[in-house]
């Protein structure tokens, strides 16, 4: 084992003189009094290893000893991860004692003493390789597959497999032999380095299946797909986090992984408090039962922040290999990029734009490419849908992190300061945002089958009406209310109707906060019906009060239980209102 001696310290960059071989990204532990501080090698120069320490380096001295581990930063994968709250290095935060975090305290991400009800899926003699399902244990409501360790990429044969029964994670549940007859024992636990993607699937086709989120401005206007990627950039105060939380509460996924990366601790506390209380609308269980939270808040060590997104992605890939639909949310990827910048700065690398490292675009697109819809070797399918937020400096979308992410992600949900200022939430700008998936033939086909045969045409019509509405609004602002033809007012208010009823959604109202696809279809068709109707007005002054009345009735519909008596009462009142001015 390689050992080393601390030679230099600059903030969390520590230079270690080593007495043997070291590898890039190798993990080492610096021994300080009776604690060990974890660090990662990020550069090697002759016999000096440059390491970033995942903890505060206060009190470290030259001459302190370092022990190298001969492996990269790994996560421990096995049953028991659901509902856990981890830090960026996969330490179980609940196992840590005391109110304050202690330096050098690392805890077991899994529960060594819990027994799991194992059911074998493979039998002796089966030919297997990495990722093959050997058996399963029920973890909450998920059938957690026990897989052949991913690193076993060749051909193996099952020699023996445990009988159905109760086992702990470290018990041997199978023995495999390789082609030379060498035996390998398999437990329910395996380790995997976070920076390397798990690729034990057969193929990665284009995603095609729409993924419901319950958020109308996404589902109706710019749909997300299973295995898709998207990002939400926006200045502070525009509701990035609120929107992500709304998605996580209602999304149609088997498993949600939330990576709180360098963000506010109180926002994570909100998840800790709310998720165990909220019901998952699909399973009737608590949301927390399908959630894993990776939490590296902004005041936690910066190097661990960089690791946290990889930790989250690796856990997502592990569950995807079981044939599950995983939704991964990262808030915020800008903080991750900033962690990269801090380290690059300390190593005195030549800076790229805004002092970010030169390879930032490559790092970001590499990360996004780990998401996707896959067909496993046994024919099952699994997916990771990834939505990241970006916090652009100064709200300027021309900064390096936003630009790099735009190249990597397929959906763009631009949050606009203007909409947020006028409390039009969610503040997703309907004109600037896009979903590239709306151009995929397979997605169009899927949507038209799922919702209605004319759905995509309806959506495109709504988008066009919104655009025309904005153009009219600009003309009205330039030329004045009476300086434009009456039809401009009509167009503008029809787009307002779409905006206020379909796009705006009250995230804090029990009913309005999540809209199932069936209801979204009903409302869009209703609103488009009104938009297609010609109305008679004498003067522009009549337009606004009339539309405001309709907006109010539709809003009450949004607040009412779907197809309840109240809902229908408001609807018939709306129909009467529409009839008042309809062109005969």
């Amino acid at each position: 084992m390689t050992k080393g001696i601390v030679k230099g310290i600059i903030a969390n960059l520590v230079l270690i003189e080593v007495d043997g071989p070291v590898s890039q990204n190798e993990i080492c532990y610096i021994v300080k009094d009776d604690v060990k501080l974890m660090a990662e090698v990020i550069k090697v120069l002759k016999n000096i290893a440059y390491t970033q320490v995942f903890e505060s380096t206060r009190g470290l001295r030259p001459g302190d000893i370092a022990e190298f581990s001969a492996h990269m930063l790994e996560v421990k994968l096995g049953p028991g991860m659901l509902s856990k709250n981890y830090d960026g290095l996969q330490d179980d935060l609940n196992k840590m004692e005391g109110v304050f975090l202690k330096k050098g305290e690392y805890t077991d991400p899994l529960d060594a003493d819990v027994k799991w009800q194992f059911k074998p899926l493979a039998k002796p003699g089966d030919k297997v390789s990495g990722g093959h399902w050997l058996g399963e244990v029920p973890e909450s409501w998920i059938a957690h597959k026990i897989m052949v360790p991913f690193y076993l990429s060749g051909n193996y044969q099952v020699k023996s497999i445990a009988e159905a029964g109760q086992y702990k994670v470290d018990d041997t549940i199978a023995t495999l032999t390789n082609t030379q007859g060498k035996e390998i024992t398999v437990t329910m636990v395996q380790k995997w380095p976070v920076k390397i993607p798990i690729k034990t699937y057969k193929e990665k086709p284009r995603p095609f299946k729409v993924m419901e989120t319950g958020v109308r401005t996404i589902d109706t206007l710019n749909p997300m797909v299973e295995g898709g990627t998207g990002f939400i950039p926006g200045p502070f105060g525009c509701g990035k986090t609120v929107l992500q939380h709304a998605i996580s509460k209602n999304a149609d996924a088997d498993l949600i992984i939330v990576a709180a990366c360098g963000e506010r601790a109180n926002e994570v506390v909100e998840l800790f408090v709310e998720f165990p209380e909220l019901d998952d609308p699909r399973t009737g269980r608590k949301l927390m039962e399908r959630t894993i939270i990776i939490c590296n808040t902004s005041n936690m060590p910066v190097a661990a922040r960089e690791a946290s997104v990889y930790t989250a992605m690796t856990i997502a890939e592990y569950y995807r290999s079981m044939g599950l639909k995983v939704l991964l949310l990262a808030d915020s990827t800008s903080r991750w990029a900033q962690a990269l910048r801090e380290m690059s700065n300390r190593m005195e690398e030549l800076p790229g734009p805004d002092a970010f490292p030169m390879d930032l675009p490559a790092i970001i697109s590499n990360f996004y490419s780990r998401a996707g819809y896959v067909i496993l070797n046994n024919g099952s399918t699994g997916s990771i849908t990834f939505i990241g937020t970006v916090s652009p400096a100064g709200g300027n979308l021309k900064e390096p992190v936003t630009e790099s992410t735009k190249k990597a992600a397929r959906c763009f949900y631009a949050l606009s300061q203007q909409r947020a200022d006028s409390k039009r939430y969610p503040a997703v700008d309907p004109i600037d945002s896009y979903s590239k998936y709306l151009e995929y033939d397979e997605v169009i086909e899927n949507l038209n089958k799922l919702v209605s045969p004319t759905w995509v045409d309806d959506v495109l019509l709504a988008k066009n009406l919104l655009l025309r509405g904005r153009e009219s609004y600009e003309q009205i602002n330039i030329l004045g209310d009476d300086g434009v033809p009456l039809v401009y007012h009509d167009r503008y208010w029809k787009s307002e109707l779409i905006d206020r009823i379909i796009l705006q959604q009250d995230g804090f109202d029990k009913i309005d906060q999540s809209t199932p696809m069936e209801r979204q279809k009903y409302m869009l068709e209703l609103i488009l019906g009104i938009c297609r109707t010609g109305f008679e007005f004498e003067s522009f002054e009549e337009v606004m009060p009339y539309f405001i009345k309709m907006v109010n009735l539709c809003k009450q519909m949004n607040y009412a239980e779907f197809k309840s008596p109240d809902f229908h009462r408001f609807e018939s009142e709306l129909n009467e209102t529409v009839a008042e001015r309809r062109v005969k």
Partner: protein, 439 residues
């Protein structure tokens, strides 16, 4: 801080810059404190046997033969009940002529709270200012800055908030505070008869700028003592964080670091987060709430300092002079308290969220109408009405001299709705209309 026996003294300085010195020494820990010619300093970099120290009060007149004594410990503050009512400098030394504080030494800038041990903030802090209580409600455990231009009366508003908020301890961290403002706070606290609840750490413009770097950590170490150990509600006021950041950039510049946006160090976000994230609601009832001031240059919030701050804090408050009523108001558009959802409609009346949003929407319509008017267009009847509403809303609610209970703020808003608008234009949920819309 006197020299103790058997401490090794180093005398050969290798390098002197405006803020740092480098000395050949061994056995020194990172971030350890030291005395250089009697001036307090801290280790910021170690390369082999070369130790770089940042000297808080500057390196003027330091010679290459200066005595360097390492103190073998990180920066500390002595905490105890005796802190209450006292004024200290950035090093935690009394500046009010009183005796040294007795108590236990705690490390400043210590570890952070385990996120799973935090409680969700849920207690309302009322200030009587409607621009805050009604539209941007504050909650214990929150961190929020005022984004203000240097000419705005933020110090007055801060002291109003401090005096009206029912906190057990108020800790003032003054960074680059002008002597006049320091005396203003002192007399405001004295006149209100609350001096025994106040602790101040003050770095005035008369002191060297780099000393400021210690002020937030000193304040928060004291705050943690009262909040975590004594379970008290602590309010920390930090003014002005822009000057703190300027000091950060001075040090990083002296250490030859590559600056990122606006000449600020690349670690600005983490540096600020370490301070603001000390705001917390502890499980045993204690809490730390941080209200800070970040001064802007020319109202530019895209500058690195307000921008990074905004991403860390739970909202921000803007002050604006409203020329229609010639008073300073809390700007309803740009101000935001992110934690308000935890208390409004829950700890306050159920109609609070809808009333708040509706009033702001109508206020936004008024802004549009105003633009129209300024551009010389004819106003509709609705435009006229929103303009009248906006003026009264500013005068009776948004102005910072208003002091009302939250229920009265809501009733006042309802009466303004009733006066200027029809039911449909207000468009609040029927259940609330039934109760509060008085025909």
């Amino acid at each position: 801080m006197t020299t103790q026996a058997f401490q090794r003294i180093y005398t050969k300085l290798q390098q002197i810059t405006k803020a740092t010195v480098t000395v050949q020494a061994t056995g020194v820990g990172n971030e350890e404190m030291a005395m250089v010619s009697g001036r307090l300093s801290q280790v910021v970099k170690i390369m082999g046997d070369l130790v770089t120290l940042q000297i808080f009060s500057g390196t003027e007149d330091i010679g290459t033969d200066a005595e360097v004594v390492f103190l073998g410990r990180p920066p500390v503050l002595k905490v105890g009940e005796q802190l209450a009512g006292r004024f200290f400098n950035a090093f935690g030394q009394p500046i009010d002529g009183g005796p040294e504080v007795e108590g236990k030494e705690v490390e400043i800038g210590g570890p952070s709270v385990n996120p799973v041990r935090r409680m969700q903030p849920s207690e309302l802090i009322t200030t009587g200012i409607a621009g805050i209580d009604l539209n941007n409600t504050l909650v214990t455990g929150q961190k929020i800055p005022f984004f203000a231009d240097p000419d705005q009366p933020f110090n007055q508003v801060m002291s109003l908030v401090a005096l009206r908020a029912e906190a057990d301890k108020i800790i003032l961290g003054g960074m680059g505070l002008s002597n006049d403002d320091y005396l203003y706070y002192k007399s405001a606290f004295e006149n209100a008869g609350v001096l025994d609840r106040i602790i101040s750490f003050v770095n005035t413009t008369e002191n060297p700028p780099v000393e400021r770097l210690l002020v937030p950590d000193m304040c928060l170490a004291a705050a943690e003592y009262f909040a975590a150990e004594k379970n008290e509600k602590v309010l920390v006021l930090l003014t002005d964080m822009t000057l703190f950041c300027d000091a950060l950039s001075i040090v990083s510049n002296r250490m030859d670091q590559i600056p990122s946006k606006d000449s600020m160090p690349g670690s600005l976000y983490s540096d600020l987060a370490k301070i603001y994230e000390k705001a917390v609601q502890f499980p045993d009832g204690g809490s730390i709430t941080i209200v800070a001031v970040t001064t802007l240059s020319g109202g530019d919030i895209t500058h690195a300092i307000p921008d990074n701050t905004g991403y860390i804090t739970e909202g921000q408050l803007f002050l604006r002079r409203d020329s229609d009523i010639s008073k300073v108001i809390v700007d309803p558009f740009r101000s935001l308290s992110r934690l308000k959802q935890l208390v409004i409609g829950k700890k306050t009346r159920a109609d609070h969220p809808q009333v708040m949003n509706t009033a702001i929407r109508l206020y936004a319509d008024a802004a549009n109408a105003k633009t129209k008017m300024e551009n010389g267009f004819d106003l509709t009847d609705y435009d006229e009405r929103v303009l009248r509403f906006a003026k009264e809303y500013s005068l009776h609610l948004l102005a910072i001299d208003v002091n009302l209970e939250v229920d009265d703020m809501l009733d006042t808003t309802w009466s303004l709705f009733r006066k200027h608008f029809s039911k449909a234009e207000v468009g609040i949920k029927e259940e609330f209309m039934k109760i509060h819309w008085k025909e």
